[in-house]
């Protein structure tokens, strides 16, 4: 049902954890629905220098969290903002149709964390 890449990222997720005092933080999803993603960003000169995530969810939710963090690491925030759930799913060699909603979590999580960073930046 899952591609080898999904299984790989699910079994050995990259960038799991927390960043203390992150420059950007986002939390999306709902425990009642079975998926919650938390994302932490360390940003220097509008570039993502570090990213960590914590996810409660199924294999697809964990794999998309892991893959999306890899895809935005060392990227300018403007570029990271453009990351779509479709691109994450493609990078994982696809997801089963009924699991596509899990990849939306990754897209929304990253957007939410970057928006947090931008709103803080605007205030300073």
């Amino acid at each position: 049902m899952y591609s080898e890449k999904v299984i790989d990222h699910f079994s050995n997720p990259r960038n799991v954890g927390k960043i203390e005092n992150p420059d950007g933080y986002g939390k999306v999803g709902n425990a009642a629905c079975g998926d919650v993603m938390e994302i932490f960003l360390k940003i220097e000169e509008d570039k993502i220098k570090d990213v960590k995530f914590r996810t409660f969810g199924c294999a697809a939710a964990i794999a998309t969290s892991s893959m999306s963090t890899e895809m935005i690491l060392n990227k300018p925030v403007e570029e990271a903002l453009k990351l779509t759930n479709k691109a994450v799913a493609e990078a994982l060699d696809g997801l089963p149709a009924k699991k596509m909603h899990c990849s939306v979590l990754a897209e929304e999580g990253i957007q939410s964390a970057i928006e947090d960073y931008m709103s803080k930046k605007d205030k300073s």
Partner: protein, 365 residues
């Protein structure tokens, strides 16, 4: 089974000798199963599975007796083949009452009694629940049904071959079972229909199964299911005791090894080999896949596995909060499971849970 795929290939509905030889084998099988279930052979219909049996029983009775009444009673924890059949009948104008369960997973008999109306024609309650294993008070429900002159259907898919259930003494009108639940072939089932009960056909076709279930009989599977049921009855008590002890050992140990874990369902009134656990702060599918990597096959009532956002309707009916219900896993122990295998699960599961929890935003330890 093999000779009925190859040498004895005749169609049991044909009158030639090769066909009649096969007919004889089907009727012998019917006799054997009827004898084990303590029913009359003409009260047994062969079907393709438990789902078909449930459909024939519920739709068959409802439609045949719709002039008598249009009300059906069932429970909230039934198998989808019962719940969705009832929902389909609602579209035909039937009214269905879904009885709740208590926090142990047992159907509330007071609510069931209160739900009875003058136009109630059928009560359909399962014997053993497929997710949490709880066993329902069939005897009491049978008495209530009899007193109120209501037909009583029992989905006994989980229990036939594993637990004794006297159909006649419990006032059961119809009872469904499925071959693979007692190590028979998959894709074969049976339905007991008490003599005198009318059934409107769900499938239309020929005259097979005394004109109640048309279609060519699945001969090889009938033969296989019959042998499997005979074997199950030979050592049912002993096997049941063994599975129960293994299951209890598993549960006693797992609660010690994994914090924040709930054992679901009544401790006593349940199937011997079923254990449903809710592991808080994890999602069931992640556990299921990690166990699968270690060669352990379990079932998860999690939302993502089924493709909907709702976790198991049975676990929710127990009162487990939605956010925890996602972490429910069902372990099924059967005839071939050993203590060594249970020990292996006890060894590999705790680190898996720890790993998944360490990734969870809800787990801060």
């Amino acid at each position: 089974m093999l000779p009925y795929f190859v040498d004895n290939y005749g169609n049991p509905s044909s009158i030639h000798r090769v066909g009649q030889k096969v007919r004889k084998k089907i009727e012998d099988s019917r006799d054997i199963i009827s004898n084990l279930l303590k029913i009359n052979p003409n009260e047994l219909i062969f079907t393709s599975c438990g789902t078909e049996s449930n459909n024939i029983a519920i739709k068959g009775v409802a439609r045949a007796y719709k002039n008598r009444g249009k009300h059906i009673i069932t429970s909230v924890i039934e198998h989808p083949s019962v719940l969705n059949t009832c929902k389909a009948l609602e579209k035909e104008g039937f009214e269905v009452s879904y009885i709740p369960i208590d926090d142990k997973g047992i159907v509330n008999l007071e609510k069931l009694k209160e739900a009875i109306r003058e136009d109630t024609i059928l009560i359909s309650i399962m014997h053993g629940n497929n997710e949490i294993g709880t066993v329902q008070p069939i005897k009491e429900i049978g008495a209530i049904a009899k007193e109120n002159k209501i037909f009583f259907h029992v989905d006994a898919v989980q229990t036939i071959g594993k637990m004794e259930l006297n159909i006649k003494e419990n006032n059961i009108s119809l009872l469904s079972f499925s071959g693979h639940k007692f190590y028979g072939p998959k894709g074969i089932g049976g339905l007991y229909v008490k003599n005198g009960i009318k059934l409107e056909k769900v499938l239309t076709g020929g005259h097979q199964e005394r004109n109640r279930r048309p279609g060519t009989e699945n001969v090889a599977s009938i033969v296989g299911m019959t042998k499997a049921l005979e074997l199950s009855y030979e050592n049912m008590e002993e096997e049941s005791k063994r599975e129960k002890e293994l299951r209890n050992y598993f549960e006693e140990e797992i609660v010690k090894k994994i914090p924040e874990l709930i054992l679901n369902g009544d401790r006593e009134k349940r199937l011997p080999g079923t254990s449903s656990v809710t592991i808080k702060f994890v999602e069931g599918e992640s556990i299921l896949l990690n166990l699968d990597f270690k060669g352990i096959a379990v079932s998860s009532g999690s939302a993502c596995t089924s493709g909907s956002l709702e976790p198991s309707h049975v676990v929710l009916a127990l009162g487990v909060p939605m956010e925890h219900a996602h972490g429910t896993i069902r372990f099924s122990l059967g005839r071939y499971n050993t203590k060594e295998e249970v020990d292996y699960v006890l060894e590999v599961l705790p680190p898996i849970v720890e790993k998944i929890r360490s990734m969870s935003p809800f787990w801060n330890n």
